[in-house]
């Protein structure tokens, strides 16, 4: 017999999420992800001067505002056919990297792990240790992570004034040229954060985690909070839970003069190919949106105020060449070719996603140290960019949760069209015109629903493994 469960409010995700589950014989047989909130940022932009996008779009999201900044700045630079001053690009990458790194940390300690501290796991060999570390608001790990997070955000305070809604990243570079002194101070904060990561998260040098090359090596990892996660994941079968579509996309993270620090590409059937961004289409069949399926450069945002019954979310359904793709830290590391991530590509479930995020924490810290070392304080950090009155541009970046794109058109010096496809729009999309569920909807099928559970733990693990950012999804 099939029953229906309506799950919400779904907390410890960014923004609003409701999931309708169909359940039979103790398993999810179908899932429908609803983003039940619509603000309309894309429409806010129309008629404004193009540079206002740099101030407005970061405010789409309080957890990845720098990602939105970076995408808007790249889209404007593309419109102008310009590039940031090389040192400005390095500082922008540093700011963006700090945000992504701390997003992963927030997700692990505050959003994902508290579920293992729940009473439903009482009696498991690891439960008391997990409770001591991750009990919401109380755990020793939680508090250590919050303190380390606040301290590393000093980098953004110094270079960008404040976080979130940092306005330092501009089309031609960044608003503050760091001095030699600033560089030394940032180095001290990064070193402090490395100490935290090595003491608490990994219980070992970062490089040791970075050199893991296969699943067996990962499973032997026993130190730090990463070890505790892997123990709980093993015991609860998270490797086999919540498999994604197996198609992984990354726009490539951190554009610097030498290229992107993490490669761009599309991984499918064991090989990486190029991302054909012209093949992106947003399908509106199950979204409360009016209009036709379109590429974002031709898309529009007209909410269906009547909220027609055959749609169920404010989220559009992006598809690449007609197919769903998964985006996020795991996808990025697979596309970048890291051996551990590639080894996890086939597993593709909850454990793989969280391990991918841990791997990216280690690799991002190492990358940021390198970025800082390469900054030359004596050089200019901003170039002059003149925007044309008519034209279009695209900015593609990687937010913590995955691929983020801004597409804008300008006519007569004013924004005539602005479309955004956010990472969670990819992962949490509703069904498309062919009835194909979005990645999370598909990943939830098969999740266990225990007798009496109205918010199944397995469902929570799957959803949170994607680290959804619902306010970005619907913007």
């Amino acid at each position: 017999m099939t029953k229906t469960l309506l799950v919400g409010p779904f907390n410890r995700v960014e923004g609003d999420l409701e999931i309708r589950l169909e359940v039979a014989d103790g398993r999810v047989t179908a899932a429908y992800a609803n983003s039940p909130m619509f603000r309309g940022f894309e429409r806010m932009m129309i008629g404004k001067g193009p540079e206002d996008a740099l101030t407005i779009t970061p405010r789409i999201c309080g957890i990845c505002s720098i990602s939105q900044s970076a995408a808007a700045a790249l889209a404007l630079a593309d419109l102008a056919g310009a590039e940031m001053a090389p040192e400005g690009a390095r500082v922008a990458a540093l700011l963006h990297g700090v945000e992504n790194l701390l997003d992963h940390l927030t997700h692990f300690y505050l959003f994902f792990m508290p579920d293992f501290a729940r009473s439903g796991y009482a009696g498991r060999a690891w439960h008391e240790r997990v409770q001591a570390r991750f009990l919401a608001g109380q755990g020793s790990g939680t508090r250590a992570a919050v303190a380390a997070r606040a301290e590393l955000f000093h980098v953004v305070g110094l270079l960008g004034g404040k976080w979130p809604h940092t306005l330092a990243i501009q089309t031609g570079g960044v608003t503050r040229a760091p001095s030699v002194r600033d560089k030394a101070r940032i180095g001290a904060w990064l070193a402090g954060f490395r100490r935290f990561l090595e003491r608490e998260v990994f219980g070992a040098p970062l490089e040791a985690f970075d050199t893991l090359a296969d699943v067996a090596g990962l499973e032997r990892w026993s130190t730090g909070d990463a070890g505790l996660f892997l123990e709980a994941a093993q015991d609860t079968g998270l490797a086999g839970l919540g498999r994604g579509p197996g198609r992984y996309m990354s726009f490539g993270a951190y554009p610097v003069p030498e290229g992107r620090l993490f490669r761009r590409g599309m991984w499918q059937d064991g090989a990486v190919g190029p991302v054909d961004e012209t093949a992106i289409v947003e399908d509106l069949s199950h979204a409360w949106m009016l209009g036709e399926a379109a590429h974002p450069s031709a898309g529009e945002t007209r909410p269906d105020a009547a909220m027609r019954a055959d749609a169920y979310s404010w989220c559009k359904a992006p598809r690449l060449g007609g197919e769903t793709v998964e985006v996020g830290a795991l996808a990025r590391q697979i596309v970048d070719g890291h051996p551990l991530a590639v080894a996890l590509a086939g597993e593709g479930g909850v454990r793989a996603r969280v391990a991918g995020r841990l791997l990216e924490i280690a690799r991002t810290q190492i990358a940021l140290e390198g970025l800082l070392a390469g900054i030359a304080p004596e050089k200019p950090f901003m170039t002059d960019v003149a925007l044309p009155r008519d034209g279009s541009g695209v900015g593609l970046v990687e937010a913590a949760r995955g691929s983020l794109g801004h597409w804008l058109s300008v006519a007569g010096g004013r924004i005539s069209s602005y479309q955004i496809v956010a990472p969670t729009t990819w992962n949490f999309s509703p069904r498309d015109g062919g009835g194909v569920p979005g990645p999370v909807e598909a990943a939830l099928v098969g999740a266990e629903v225990l007798e009496g559970e109205d918010t199944p733990l397995a469902v929570q693990h799957v959803v949170r493994s994607f680290d959804p950012c619902m306010v970005c999804t619907v913007h």
Binding site: H154, A168, P303
Partner: protein
């Protein structure tokens, strides 16, 4: 004192900013002040049915609610239904929930400029009819109505800012817990005076440039940003440059103009954010509490008297001419 925190139509950034509280961190601070978080969407374990039960108990008067914090605008649309934001799992709009729970709370705190005045969520054509709790832009009204007074006797406490500084929120909560935040402690727009009686201009490191009207012409130059780059730090309330953000930051310290994010309708300045509107070459938005003629007279004098050190540095991206040590006489 217990607190329930709801996120309406905002970006979650004020919660994320709250996590940046330091010395002590937010969890230690709340513990120390005897403040218990009944539920927070980002930090709490409770989810789904557990939360619905809590909300029902508050609504039914079975669970006392000392403070309701609301982060984000309230969406009145479409057509006054509030259906642009439904609270997941409940079949009810956030508009409905906010009204129901506000009626039960001793104090209601609007966290951030979306919740106070509508903020960025109400920008542009505002097709969702986003408003603040007690204000619709600069006008009283909003989701709870102009005359709303919480059980404890205060109107909505407006901790405006986009985002809010973590200390503005924690200090407001601590003052409520102590019973020392009364109507006299709020300014005319409902903001706590402890931060709203300062201007962003106070302690701005560009003050020496301001004194001489030595102006930056482009972003990334270190001069005063009032004349050309849209900075309204001389008119915006906030102690941003006194207490600092994220260690030692502020928008102006990082070379970005103050956009007055603690004020109603900052999201629609009527000009580009980083551009100063001018009439006949003279900025329109001069400091509000100074006669324009005096300002013009002083500005032209100080411009004429600008030392070369300050004039040259103002249009550079770093200090090019250091101050010369005073010779001993």
């Amino acid at each position: 004192m217990n607190v329930l925190w709801l996120q309406t139509a905002g970006c979650g950034g004020c919660s994320m900013s709250l996590l940046c509280a330091e010395a002590p961190g937010v969890f230690d601070l709340l513990d120390g002040a005897g403040i218990e978080m009944l539920w927070h969407p980002s930090f709490s374990e409770a989810t789904g049915g557990e939360v619905r039960a809590l909300l029902s108990a508050i609504e039914a008067g079975e669970q006392k609610l000392d403070v309701l914090c609301v982060e984000g605008s309230v969406l009145m649309g479409p057509g006054g239904t509030g259906r642009y934001q439904m609270m997941a799992g409940t079949g009810r709009s956030m508009l409905d929930w906010v009204r129901a729970l506000s009626a039960m709370a001793t104090h209601v705190v609007a966290v951030g400029t979306c919740a106070t005045y509508g903020g960025v969520t109400s920008a542009g054509e505002n097709l969702t009819d986003a408003v603040g709790l007690q204000y619709d832009g600069a006008h009283r009204g909003g989701a709870l109505g102009a005359g709303f007074v919480a059980k404890g006797g205060l109107p909505v406490v407006n901790v405006a800012g986009c985002p809010t500084h973590p200390d503005w929120v924690t200090e407001t909560l601590m003052m409520l817990a102590e019973g020392v935040l009364d109507t006299a402690a709020l300014d005319t727009l409902g903001r706590p005076k402890f931060y709203a009686e300062n201007l962003v201009h106070h302690a701005c490191p560009k003050n020496e440039f301001y004194e001489y009207k030595a102006s930056a012409e482009k972003l990334s130059q270190i001069g005063c940003m009032m004349e050309h780059l849209g900075c309204v730090g001389t008119q915006a309330v906030g102690d941003c440059n006194i207490r600092g953000w994220n260690g030692e930051g502020s928008c102006t310290r990082a070379g970005y103009p103050c956009i007055n994010c603690t004020a109603p309708e900052f999201e629609e300045p009527g000009h580009a954010f980083a551009e100063t509107p001018k009439f006949a070459g003279i900025p329109v938005g001069l400091p509000t509490d100074m006669p324009k003629a005096w300002f013009m007279a002083l500005a032209s004098l100080s411009k004429a008297a600008t030392p070369p050190r300050i004039g040259r540095n103002a249009v550079s991206d770093r200090i090019r001419v250091p101050p010369s040590p005073k010779a001993r006489s």
